[in-house]
């Protein structure tokens, strides 16, 4: 799957919570870590996974790094997800048309 990495990154509850926190705006690690019952290095590790998956943007600000949601990437992901159902719909439609051409065994009059 093209977005395997993103999905794996999103499959963790803490990382989901980080995403929710970043909805409120960009934040640095120290600020982000305040809301979680886990250590700052642990938060950093989660941020790395999200960043590596392309889901967050990281901006240096002095000695700190500011993390923000990466909207373009997310839009791409959403588009791909939507396309899964479009694929399934297209595949089903083709199969249905093929089946219709075959006709039913009972209504062949030739």
């Amino acid at each position: 799957m093209p977005y395997e990495k993103e999905l794996a990154a999103l499959s963790d509850p803490t990382r989901q919570a980080i995403i929710q926190r970043l909805r409120l705006g960009p934040q640095n690690v120290a600020r982000l870590a305040e809301g979680f019952p886990i250590s700052r290095p642990a938060i950093s590790q989660h941020l790395k996974v999200l960043s590596d998956a392309g889901l967050l943007s990281v901006t240096p600000n002095g000695t700190r790094r500011i993390y923000a949601l990466s909207p373009d990437r997310m839009r791409d992901l959403r588009d791909w997800m939507n396309s899964l159902w479009d694929d399934a719909r297209g595949a089903f439609s083709r199969a249905a048309h093929d089946l219709a051409k075959e006709g039913t065994p009972n209504d062949r009059s030739d």
Binding site: Q16, A17, R89
Partner: protein
């Protein structure tokens, strides 16, 4: 509130045959090479099959022969409606619902697919206690879409 994902199409088959194709013959049309758990490993799934009764499993047979349950049948009305939980590897309280309805039209059947149940997804306050809900990647997508705005 997250809107359900909805897709519709009209197929040139009567409802009972459209239903039969969608459910009993799912493996004949589902893109197993692209959309399966096997596809996540770069492989093609061997099969996907629905046990045709309420409570029945919807099962993928992976490329290596192992089976994995996608969800369970919650509505089984041949020719009318099929619904299932869309669970994959999530806990039971983190499922979403897929409903397919089949409505007769003049020249065939309107098939409507609705993927719903996002309301179980907690808002940020709830997310902070580590409880979150996702049945399938679409959940993440929808959350992502709203998060990105």
């Amino acid at each position: 509130m997250t809107d359900p994902i909805e897709k519709t199409l009209v197929v040139p088959l009567p409802p009972d045959r459209a239903f039969d194709l969608f459910t009993n013959r799912m493996a004949s049309w589902w893109p197993l090479d692209k959309h399966s758990l096997s596809a996540g490993d770069g492989k093609v799934a061997q099969d996907v099959a629905i046990t045709p009764k309420v409570g029945g499993d919807v099962t993928e047979t992976k490329h290596n022969g192992t089976t994995v349950v996608w969800g369970k049948v919650v509505t089984w009305q041949p020719g009318k409606a099929f619904a299932m939980t869309w669970q994959l590897d999530r806990p039971e309280d983190e499922v979403t619902y897929l409903t397919i309805t089949f409505d007769a039209e003049d020249d065939g059947t309107r098939v409507t697919l609705i993927h719903d149940g996002w309301d179980a997804i907690p808002e940020p306050a709830q997310a902070s206690r580590g409880h979150y809900s996702t049945g399938w990647e679409f959940v993440l997508c929808d959350r992502y879409k709203s998060a990105a705005q």
